[in-house]
Amino acid sequence: MWPVYLTITSTAPAATDLGYLLHKHPDRAQQFDVSAGNAHVFYPEATDERCTVALVLEVDPIELVRGRRYGGDASALSQYVNDRPYAASSMLAVALGKVFRTAMAGTCAAKPDLVDRPLPLEIHLPALPSVGGAPMVRQLFEPLGWSVEATPIALDETVPHWGDSRYVQTRLRGTMVLAQALSHLYVLLPVLDNAKHYWVSSDEVDKLVRAGDGWLADHPERELITRRYLAHQRELVATATSRLAEVDDLPPEALDNAVNDDEEARDALPLVARRRQAVLEALRQEGAARVVDLGCGEGALLRELIQDARFSEVLGVDVSPRALAVAERRLNLNRMPDSQRARLRLMLSSVTYRDERLAGYDAVVLMEVVEHLDPQRLPALEDTVFAQARPRTVIVTTPNVEHNVRYERLAAGTMRHRDHRFEWTRAEFAAWATSVCERTGYVVRFAPIGDDDPEVGPPTQMAVFSRTDDAQQAAS
């Protein structure tokens, strides 16, 4: 059982009134059972000038995992060695809500006139986890009237190149009604934490959002706050893929990353939609009716394909079981009308293995797929798609690396996605496509996707391959 630590100091005249407001006597230490372990409340100082209450949460990570109270997965190594015991986190928020429930509700039977009185308060969180670091702490607390002192904590002073941890030594100062201050912590601690591992159940989310009543609606970062709550809704049980990450001492996200968990990035770019439009347009132009979306991910293109009855048969293929599960959910497969449902199939497979189930279709789409493959595996993809499946049409889209200079937020020389193994210039893409054609009997044409910059070209490049025998037939 290990401690999480938080103090609240009042410097109001008759500072020990804090004890009345909190319903906790300043001269006694008290212990409470909370879901994550034990909470202790005591007062390091209690004078008329200055009264400080400390909340210690002793978390038992072993019990935490065993009890599965927080949806932990016993097979995830990270659950045993984690920062929860030390860091102010969502569990601290839950403990706050329990231990100081009446104070947060703004009731005080003994001194009801204290309840609405703003007090000069100082809140100290020695290790506050903050995704977004010190600036994020300021961004969330300053609009609420706090003056924020936030100092990042180094990961390890003996390894300076690791830089700062996500922990921020934080002091909040402000004159605030206590109940309000508590509700700020209650809501914003989990938002800052943005943890994936410890998911509070859905009714607790509702509670937290309710607690923001009165100030959340006007908060300039309201959208981010809400979004981070939703981002918590990740599957709780480790997938087979993520367990393999642990075999190699990697965080689960390093391998099990086929599904984009980052709500902030999803569909942020109109480019994603334009890319889908371009692919659909090309498919229609080629008269393809039976289409494979190879590397369909969460099914964004599938959704549009089945909305057009011209596509009589749609096969979504991905190598990630999790991506397929998400696609199934997103597409509402089990509630889809029979007539649509009959046109769509999802299937686990891999472009690096031959798969006869891919044969016989009009078109295969590889939308933003090739760049996720190590260059040494491209011949396997070529064999699977161009030599074996051999559809009439193959559509490949991939980033145009020349365009990267137009992305201000992208550091020079870095790729657009962590998992990209390469990004091609237009010439490199053309060279690859042409050599594939020579070996496999296709002809290719290229088209830009997105604004075709006169200097660096479009953000995305597309190649439309047609099988030679078919192209000849069409010509004659």
Binding site: A29, H40, A74, P126, A154, V159, T352, D383, R439
Partner: protein, 851 residues
């Protein structure tokens, strides 16, 4: 007694009116499971065997079951009236679909008898008219049965004949499973008699000659026999001479032979049939004109009598002229014969007007070795357990034989170019264009779904579907090309939980565990503080091309437990160069007689691979703890100072603060800065495989000697593995082992691995664990958390269950050995990959990862 002969594998249609006694006949002559009756199927689908309304569904079921049985190669008897032509046509089609012979047994019994028997059955309500109609249909059918496709038709016309009949099951003509060799399988000769004589001589045969000094037979002193893959004739200088020799050998039982397409055509030409006289047939006919009429007749008879393909040696070897896909082995149908003679063609023709052949061998996944000819290639090469032995002798290439079961290729060069090919014959030794190793391409069916892998050392190992799916993603997206992953190391189980206070693991339990299963000679090896690394290094890049099909100039690989490369291409190359020069200097190529080596090792530091984990998980925990705990401690001390009773909280927090420091110290031992390869070390501890050989039969003393020599040869890269040998029957030795572990771990060392000194060891209970790890107390903080040593935590951790992990470790070990043995035997990539993939899949099973 009348013997009714039927092929061992056939579809037997019983034909007869109701009441003719089909079911009784079936019961008397076949096993119950061999017979599928339409009545029974009616019952299955409708609960009523006589429900005529259910007939269509019943026959669907009947055909389905029959299809499954035939696909599995099982004789199947259809008990239905089958008096209608349409019904029989379906059966003939079914037989053809599975390439088995359809056979008819007709019970043509007198009408009165059938009617009387039917009337006696209370459940049959149809009358004389139905039986009469059925008999009428039968009579009309009788004459046409052979024409309908039934290869044998037996008709029984009386009760007596039925009673006297017995069934004799005959072997298929292709069935030579009882012939176990050894064989010398010889490729297309095409009239090159002289080269054939030289080859037979090279193989150790003695030729017998006739009075005109012409070879007519050849005998091997050790009883070896040639198997000719066909195309003995055409194009070459002496087709009759080749025929005379081969016919003589076959006749005397000294050789076996399958027909080639050229023999097939020759039969038709000799039979006076109109054939297109091309591809060298004209020379053969001219040469035969000089022979006697009698010889020509013998040739015609010989060629006519050749069987499409041979299944030899309990089904382990199949010989067919153009090869044969697995579904056709031991089957009989027109298309099987056509495949065996001409191969699979895509229906297209190439620029020279020759048919484009479908590369069936690339897809071949069968157990049987398939040897064939037909398509000239510059070098005989293994493709998925198949080999084409036509090395274009007549085009100036060579004549090739494969020694079976030795798998040794023996060739003699052509004496000259006897015949100019239509398409330029590729020259041997010329580098093949990149990407020609299409057979390296794996099929999704090699890995996906629930799988069972046969292992030599631990029986069948099952992989669950969901685990295969997880492994597929990692293998496809992150791993190296499977050609560079002939092996993945197994998980290692820890020793059972220690009974000593304050410890989770201790050598006691590891020693006791081996001792209790009779393994007393142990070696303890230092557990390096790094990452498990498999190192595959080839002597040079041309070896990498030849042995592993390298396409990008790679000369090996250094990879993690999930098959990911530790480094990018440039660093990998630099690292392999250094490994290679150490192997050079240590003289291992020569000593191990190999041009590549696969090493089991540990790569240091751990941070080289796991820096993200160290930084984001371990360092983060340390940073949080070291920020929060002092603040909390200060608060508690102030509170206590003013008289607040904290009830142990302060003491607990103080202990936690100390643990957090110890934890930080523990993980820091695993990080040191590396720059490129500077600071990177490799500690090899086992040789896994070299060309044609595995090493789990060599004791660990030998393995560590090899490792020591590498350390000596490349001290700046290679790290030694400290070790101590322990005899569990000697208390002093055990105490020394424990003392050694204590000194290793006292200053934070990771611990040790205890292994049977002899390496692969069998006990009464099967194979022994290849190793048990015993980890140090401080190291375990980064596994179980900073505070695991607190008594109440330790108490909770003690009830860990190591059984699942042990079982998993053994299964993965067996799969690892299996992949290495398959590699050493030169098996196709898909076979090696199957076992490697299974290791990865098992690794994704949910097991407590702290073990």
């Amino acid at each position: 007694m009348t013997e009714l002969a039927i092929p061992e594998l056939s579809l037997v249609a019983l034909i007869g009116a109701s009441g003719s006694g089909k079911s009784t006949f079936a019961r008397d002559h076949f096993a119950p499971t061999e017979v599928i009756s339409s009545d029974f199927c009616r019952g299955l689908v409708s609960d009523n065997e006589n429900n005529q309304a259910a007939t269509a569904d019943a026959f669907d079921v009947l055909n389905y079951i029959a299809g499954k049985r035939l696909a599995a190669g099982r004789l199947t008897v259809i008990d239905a009236t089958n008096v209608q032509r349409d019904a029989r046509r379906e059966l003939v089609e079914l037989a053809r679909a599975h390439d088995v012979l359809p056979v008819a047994i007709v019970l043509d019994l007198p009408e009165q008898l059938c009617v009387a028997r039917t009337a006696n059955r209370p459940d049959r309500d149809f009358g004389v008219a139905v039986v009469r109609r059925q008999r009428e249909q039968l009579r009309r059918s009788l004459r046409g049965l052979a024409k309908e496709g039934f290869r044998k038709v037996h008709v029984l016309r009386s009760v007596e004949e039925v009673a006297a009949a017995t069934i004799v099951r005959e072997k298929l003509l292709t069935d030579f499973r009882h012939e176990h060799g050894p064989f010398d399988v010889i490729g297309d000769v095409h009239g090159c008699r002289s080269e054939l004589e030289t080859l037979l001589d090279t193989l150790g045969y003695r030729l017998n000659r006739d009075e005109r000094d012409r070879p007519v037979d050849a005998v091997h002193p050790e009883g070896r026999r040639p198997v000719f893959v066909g195309d003995l004739v055409d194009r070459g200088p002496d087709s009759p001479g080749v025929l005379r020799l081969v016919m003589g050998m076959v006749k005397s039982g000294h050789a076996l032979c399958v027909p080639g397409n050229h023999e097939n055509k020759l039969v038709r030409a000799l039979g006076g049939r109109q054939v297109q006289v091309t591809h060298g047939l004209v020379e053969t006919l001219a040469q035969l004109d000089a022979e006697t009429e009698e010889f020509r007749n013998e040739v015609a008879e010989f060629c006519y009598g050749l069987i499409s393909h041979l299944v030899l040696d309990d089904g382990r070897l199949v010989v067919a002229h153009a090869g044969l896909k697995e579904a056709y082995h031991g089957r009989a149908s027109g298309r099987v014969r056509s495949f065996a003679l001409y191969g699979d063609s895509t229906g297209e023709t190439d620029e020279f007007g020759l048919p484009v052949r479908y590369p069936w061998a690339n897809d071949y996944r069968g157990q049987a070795m398939v040897l064939y000819g037909h398509t000239p290639t510059p070098e005989a090469e293994w493709v998925n357990n198949t080999m084409c032995l036509d090395t274009g002798c007549v085009f100036g290439g060579k004549l090739t034989a494969l020694r079976y079961p030795e798998k040794e290729v023996v060739s003699v060069p052509a004496e000259k170019v006897w015949y100019e090919p239509v398409k330029p014959f590729p020259v041997a030794g010329e580098p093949a264009p990149v990407d020609v190793r299409h057979h390296d391409q794996l099929d999704i069916n090699d890995v996906l779904g629930k799988r069972v892998v046969e292992t030599a050392h631990h029986g069948r190992v099952t992989v669950r579907e969901e685990n295969a799916a997880g492994a597929l993603e990692v293998m496809s997206r992150f791993a190296l090309h499977p050609r560079w992953l002939p092996y993945l190391p197994p998980a290692m189980a820890p020793a059972a939980t220690s009974k000593r206070p304050g410890l989770l693991e201790h050598p006691d339990e590891a020693f006791a565990s081996y001792d209790s299963s009779g393994v007393t000679d142990l070696i303890c090896e230092e557990k390096h503080m790094g990452s498990r690394a498999t190192v595959l290094v080839c002597r040079d890049s041309s070896v990498a091309v030849a042995r592993f099909g390298a396409t990008g100039g790679e000369s090996g690989a250094v990879y993690t437990r999930t098959g990911r490369s530790f480094f990018g291409p440039d660093l990998s190359k630099a690292l392999l160069d250094r490994v290679r020069s150490a192997v050079d200097a240590a003289g291992l190529w020569k000593q191990l007689d190999t041009d590549w080596i696969l090493l089991d090792s540990e790569l240091l530091p751990w941070s080289a691979k796991a820096e993200d984990l160290l930084r984001d998980q371990y360092a983060a925990v340390g940073a949080a703890a070291r920020a929060a705990l002092p603040a909390a401690l200060a608060g508690m001390q102030t509170a206590r100072g003013r008289g607040v009773v904290l009830d142990g909280l302060l003491e607990r927090t103080r202990a936690r603060a100390a643990n957090a420091e110890a934890f930080t110290a523990a993980y820091r031992r695993y990080c040191w800065p590396t720059d490129g390869l500077d600071g990177v070390g490799i500690a090899p501890f086992q040789v896994l495989a070299t060309q044609g050989r595995t090493y789990h039969d060599r004791d660990h003393g030998w393995h560590l000697q090899v490792a020591d020599r590498l350390v000596e040869a490349g001290p700046d890269l290679f790290r030694p593995t400290r070790r101590i040998r322990v005899d569990t029957s000697d208390p002093d030795s055990v105490a020394a082992g424990i003392g050694w572990w204590e000194s290793l771990t006292a200053d934070g060392g990771e611990g040790m691995v205890v292994k049977p000194f002899a390496n692969l060891t069998r006990t009464r209970r099967g194979i022994a664990q290849p190793g048990l790890k015993v980890r140090g107390r401080e190291y375990l903080r980064i596994i179980y958390g900073p505070d695991y040593t607190e008594p109440q935590n330790l108490a909770g951790l003690r009830d860990r269950n190591v059984n699942h992990k042990r079982s998993l470790a053994l299964r993965e070990y067996a799969l690892g050995l299996e992949s290495l043995e398959r590699l050493a035997r030169g098996e196709p990539l898909w076979r090696i990959h199957e076992a490697v993939f299974a290791v990865l899949a098992l690794e994704s099973e949910p097991v407590d990862p702290r073990l």
